[in-house]
Amino acid sequence: MTEHAPAGSELPDGAETCLSFTVSGPWGHFRRIEGNIVKQTYRVIPRTTVAGLIAAMLGIERDGYYDLFAPGESLVAIEPTSELRTMKLPMNTLSTADEHMASLNPRGKLSIKLPDPSKPRQQHNYEVLVDPAYRIDVWLDNDERYDQLRSLLESGESYYVPSLGLSEYLATVDYHGEFPIEQGPDGDTVAIDSTVPEAVDSIVPDPETRYQIEQTPAFMERDDGGRTTSAFVSYAYNPDGGSLTFTDVATYSVDDRTVVFT
C-alpha cells in the first residue's frame, strides 16, 4: 500500500495557494492501460495526464517532468465539470510499429519519424469523451515553475499546444485565478466536488446520485530504459458532474469548492 498516494493527508510545507483552471475540449481520449488491441478511454483525466498537460504548457520535454509532479512536490485536485459522456469514433490508423515508421530528414539535425502514408489504413473504434471539461487545482513546490505557470495562465499562453490525450483533441484552458488552500468543511459527512482518491468504501450512497470508480496512473518515474508508473490511484467520481458525499475524508477548500488533492 505504500506505493499508493495517501488520501487527504497533511499538506506539504509551503502549500498555501494553488492555481485553478479548467481544461475542456470537444473531444478527449485517455487510453486505458488494459487496452492495446481495444481503445477505451478513462472517464476522468488521469493525474499523469494532467502533469503532462501542464509540462507541455511549461515547455518541458517528455520524461523531463516526473520529479516536478512527484508526491510531496506537487498537489493536484481534479473535478469533472461536465457530464462524462463517451461515444465510439471509428478512426483510420496506420501502423506505428518501428519497422513501419519512415524517417523524414534522417540525417539532419531535426529528424522525425512518421508512419508510411502510402500504406492502407485500418479502421478501429476509439472510445472518445464528448465535450469533457475538468477543473484542475495545482500546487508545485518548485517556486520557479509555479510562478512560470501562473504567468502563462494569466497571459493565456503555452509552449506546446495543450490537448486532451491525443494531439488532435485540442484543449481550451480557462484560468480562474490563484486561491488559498484552506481547511475543508468539518462534519461526519462532507460533499466533495473533486474526484476522491482511494475512498470507495467511504462513499455515502444516495439512490439519486450515481457514483463510479476508476483506477488510473497517478505518478511516474524515469529509469534507464524509459518511464514507469510508480503509483496507481482509484478515484471515485460522479459521472453526471456533481458532488459526492463521503465520511471520514480530509478535505480542503479552494474557491469555495471542496476538494481532495492527490
Binding site: E34, N36, P90, T96, V200, P205, Q212, T228, S234
Partner: protein, 706 residues
C-alpha cells in the same frame, strides 16, 4: 471445482479474508484477479503453486479406464534407471491423484504442457501415447527452462536423472513396448512420471517433489515475458493490481485479450519488449489473471453479433460475505447449461442488489472479434447494475399492463385500447422483462438490424444503447427515435407494422419513465421527455353512464393524448393526429369499399415529410368529408363528419401552428405519424359506432350489423 457449501467449509471467513485482495476492486484487472483467485481456491486450493496448476483441465479423465500413464524412474541406484519390474504403470486417474500429478496445461499446437505431467490429445493411439511417455524424459526434462531450474535447485539431480534415462535408446524402447503392450487401444490420458529417490522409500509423485513444481512454474512464467515479437518483456515496476513494487511482466495472457497483440495505432513507440512498462503485472498476478478464464467465459454470451461479457463484482474491497455470494453466482453460471448467464446471475444475485447499496456491479463489454488481432469494444462499462434493467422492466410492465395496451382493463369496457397487443409480440404484453433487457433481446425487437457484412467498425447502436441501459446512462431521445424509424423503414412492403410500432412506443415510454432518456440542450426538438402515467385516469373522463359510442372515442383519444406527455408538443400531436385520421379512414375504406389501395398505402411512413404534411392533411380530410356525405345519403343517422373528434383536433392543433413552419425532425414526425396510424388502425369500434344503419354494405362488414 468446489460447490459453494464446500467452498465455505474449506475457506471459513477468517481464512478467506486473508485470500481476498487488500485493494478495492476498481478496474477490469482487479475483477479478473479476484475471479482468478476464487477459481484457484476452488480448484487447486491454496499453496504456493496453486495458481499455476490447472486441475480442471483433466476433470473428464477422473475415473476413466487407462487414464493415467506413469513412467517410473529409479534414482536410488548408482545410475538412474527405469524401474526393473514395472517401467510403466497404467492406471485410473482419480480424485486423490489431482494434487499428486500437479498438472499445468499449456495451450500450444505442438508444445508440451508446462508440468512434467502432460495431457494427451483426445483418443490418442498407443503409438502416440508411447511417444508422449518418452517425451517426459526426452523433451520436458531437457527443456532449457527446466534445465536452468535443475542447475539452481538442490534437487536438480532428479531432473537430470530423468534426462539421463531418456538418453539411452534401449530405455525408450522399453517404455514404448510397455505402453503398447499394456494399453487396450486408443485412450485419452495424463502422462507423468514417478521417481524413487532412495531404495528404502516408495516411488514419489511429481506433486510431492518440489523441483518438479519449481520447473513447472518457471516454464509457465517464461511465457509471460516472451510472446510474438516480445522476447523478454519484464522489469521492475509497480504492479497495477497490488500496487507493490516488484518484477513485472508484459505479455501476460488476459482472458479478454484486450492487451496482447499489436494493431495499427494512434500512439507511436509502443515496443513489445517494453510492454511491462505500460501494463505492469507481477508474475503471480499475471498467472492469477489467466485463471479467471473459466469464470469470464461462463459469464459471456452472444448477442448483436458480438461477445458480451457480463461480470459481476462488488465495488470496493470485497468482504468475505460478498465473496461467498460472488463465488456462488460464478459457480452456478459455470454449472448452468440451460440458462443464459444473465438469468442465472440475476437469480443468484438479485437479492443482494437491494442490500448492497449499489456495490453490486457488473463489468459489461461487447467485444467484436473481427480477426485474431482485430478486436473492437463496442460498448463497455464497469457500472452495470441489476437495478437499471429491473427498473426499466417494471416501467414497461406498467405501460403494457395499463389501459393503453390491455384490452381487459376496465376502462376500455367494450372498445379497443389505443394500442394493439399480441402474445407473440412480447413487448406489447404484460410480463417479466428484466432478463430480456439484461440479455439485449429487448432492443433486438425494436432496433434496426445492422448488416455485419458491411463495414464492421460502424457502431452498432443496439450495443451502445444496451450498455447504456445496463449502466444507467441516459440515452439521447433523438438516437432512440431515429433508430425506431430506421427499423420501420427497413421493412419490405408497405403494410404498417402496428405491433412493432406499439412495441417501440412501449419501450420509449418505459425508458423515459425509468429516467434513461435525455435531450440535447441545443436540440430544436421538444424537450418533453416525461414519460406517460397511464395508471390514473382523469376523473372527469371516467364515465360510468355509457354515453354514445362517438363520445367514447373522443374520450379515449383525449385521454390518450393528455396522458402521453410526449404529445404535449403541438407538432408531434399534429403528426399523431394525422396518422390517426389516415389509419381510421384507411380502415373504413377497407371495410366499406373493399379498396385494395387505401390512404394508408397512399401515405406510407417513409413518404411523410414536413413539406407534405399540410397537403396530405387536406387530402385526407377531404376524403373523410366525401365518405361522410356518402354515408348520409345511404341513410346513416349521422349527419356530421366521420371521425369528428380527430378532424376537430387536427384543425385545432394546426390552426395556430401551420405545418409549413414546423421544426420537428423528420424522424420525430414519422415516429408520431406511425404511432397515429397504429392508433387509428386499432380503433375497431369505428364502423359500428359511426354507421349504425341498415346500409347495403352490412354483408361485407359484419361489424356494422346492429
Amino acid at each position: 471445482m468446489l460447490d459453494p457449501n464446500e467452498f465455505y467449509d474449506e475457506y471459513p471467513p477468517e481464512r478467506l479474508e486473508d485470500e481476498l485482495p487488500e485493494r478495492p476492486i476498481s478496474s477490469l484487472r482487479g475483477i479478473q484477479h479476484l475471479y482468478g483467485r476464487l477459481y484457484t481456491l476452488a480448484t487447486a486450493g491454496g499453496g504456493d503453486y496453486a495458481a499455476y496448476l490447472t486441475p480442471d483441465q483433466a476433470n473428464d479423465l477422473i475415473g476413466a479406464e487407462e487414464s493415467l500413464i506413469v513412467v517410473r524412474v529409479d534414482l536410488s541406484g548408482d545410475r538412474p534407471a527405469l524401474d526393473a519390474d514395472e517401467p510403466v504403470k497404467i492406471t485410473q486417474y482419480a480424485d486423490d491423484l489431482i494434487q499428486k500429478v500437479a498438472h499445468c496445461k499449456y495451450n500450444a499446437a505442438r508444445g508440451i504442457d508446462h508440468s512434467v505431467t502432460h495431457r494427451s490429445g483426445r483418443n490418442s493411439d498407443p503409438e502416440k501415447l508411447a511417444r508422449y511417455a518418452c517425451e517426459r524424459l526426452t523433451k520436458w526434462a531437457t527443456d532449457d527452462v527446466v534445465q536452468d531450474v535443475a542447475d539452481e535447485h538442490p534437487d536438480g539431480e532428479v531432473i537430470r536423472g530423468l534426462a539421463t534415462v531418456g538418453e539411452e535408446e534401449s530405455n525408450l524402447d522399453r517404455i514404448r513396448s510397455a505402453v503398447k503392450a499394456e494399453l487396450g487401444g486408443s485412450t485419452t490420458a495424463l502422462l507423468t512420471v514417478q521417481v524413487r529417490r532412495e531404495a528404502s522409500v516408495d516411488y514419489e509423485w511429481p506433486g510431492d517433489v518440489p523441483v518438479f513444481n519449481e520447473a513447472m512454474r518457471a516454464r509457465k512464467l517464461s511465457k509471460l515475458v516472451s510472446k510474438g515479437q516480445a522476447t523478454n518483456s519484464a522489469g521492475q515496476a509497480t504492479d497495477l493490481i497490488s500496487g507493490e513494487r516488484t518484477r513485472t511482466v508484459g505479455t501476460a495472457e488476459d482472458p479478454l485479450n484486450y492487451f496482447l497483440g499489436k494493431q495499427m495505432e494512434k500512439f507511436p513507440g509502443l515496443d513489445p519488449d517494453e510492454a511491462w512498462r505500460s501494463h505492469p503485472i507481477s508474475e503471480d498476478g499475471a498467472v492469477t489473471l489467466m485463471n479467471a478464464e473459466e469464470f469470464v467465459d461462463a459469464c459471456s454470451y452472444r448477442t448483436f453479433n458480438a461477445d458480451v461479457y457480463y461480470l459481476p463484482y462488488f465495488l470496493g474491497r470485497p468482504t468475505p460475505a460478498e465473496a461467498y455470494n460472488l463465488y456462488a453466482a460464478l459457480h452456478s453460471v459455470t454449472q448452468a447449461d440451460d440458462m443464459g448467464p444473465v438469468q442465472t446471475l440475476y437469480d443468484e444475485l438479485g437479492d443482494h442488489e437491494a442490500n448492497s447499496e449499489g456495490r453490486l456491479r457488473f463489468y459489461v463489454a461487447a467485444v467484436m472479434k473481427h480477426q485474431m488481432s482485430r478486436f473492437d469494444v463496442y460498448g463497455e462499462t464497469l457500472n452495470g447494475r441489476i437495478h437499471y434493467p429491473t427498473e426499466v422492466g417494471e416501467r414497461h410492465e406498467q405501460i403494457t399492463g395499463s389501459w393503453v395496451f390491455d384490452e381487459n382493463d376496465d376502462r376500455n369496457r367494450n372498445r379497443t385500447p389505443p394500442m394493439p397487443s399480441h402474445e407473440e409480440w412480447s413487448l406489447t404484453t404484460y410480463q417479466d422483462f428484466r432478463e430480456m433487457i439484461g440479455s439485449g433481446a429487448y432492443l433486438y425487437r425494436t432496433f434496426p438490424f445492422t448488416d455485419e457484412d458491411t463495414d464492421a467498425t460502424v457502431d452498432d447502436e443496439r450495443i451502445d444503447v444496451h450498455v447504456s441501459i445496463l449502466a444507467g446512462d441516459p440515452v439521447p431521445r433523438t438516437q432512440l427515435v431515429s433508430a425506431y424509424v430506421e427499423r420501420l423503414l427497413d421493412r419490405d412492403g408497405d403494410d404498417v407494422p402496428e405491433l412493432l410500432i406499439a412495441s417501440q412506443f412501449a419501450q420509449l415510454c418505459a425508458l423515459e419513465n425509468a429516467d434513461l432518456v435525455t435531450t440535447d440542450a441545443g436540440d430544436t426538438e421538444s424537450t418533453l421527455i416525461d414519460g406517460p402515467d397511464y395508471d390514473t385516469m382523469e376523473p372527469e373522463h371516467a364515465r360510468t353512464d355509457g354515453g354514445t359510442a362517438a363520445l367514447d372515442r373522443t374520450e379515449k383519444l383525449e385521454s390518450f393524448i393528455e396522458q402521453t406527455d410526449g404529445l404535449d408538443d403541438p407538432e408531434r400531436k399534429g403528426a399523431f393526429l394525422l396518422g390517426t385520421l389516415v389509419g381510421q379512414v384507411g380502415t373504413y375504406q377497407q371495410g366499406y369499399h373493399d379498396r385494395s389501395t387505401t390512404v394508408i398505402d397512399q401515405y406510407p411512413i417513409k413518404s411523410m415529410t414536413k413539406t407534405k404534411v399540410k397537403r396530405i392533411t387536406q387530402e385526407v380530410i377531404d376524403k373523410d368529408v366525401v365518405y361522410s356525405r356518402e354515408m348520409a345519403k345511404k341513410g346513416s343517422n349521422i349527419n356530421s363528419t366521420m371521425y369528428k373528434e380527430v378532424t376537430n383536433a387536427i384543425v385545432e392543433t394546426m390552426a395556430g401552428n401551420d405545418p409549413s413552419g414546423w421544426e420537428i425532425s423528420t424522424d420525430d414526425l414519422r415516429f408520431y405519424y406511425a404511432l397515429g396510424l397504429t392508433y387509428g388502425m386499432n380503433d375497431r369500434s369505428t364502423n359500428k359506432d359511426d354507421a349504425t344503419t341498415d346500409d347495403e354494405t352490412t354483408d361485407e362488414s359484419p361489424d356494422t350489423n346492429e
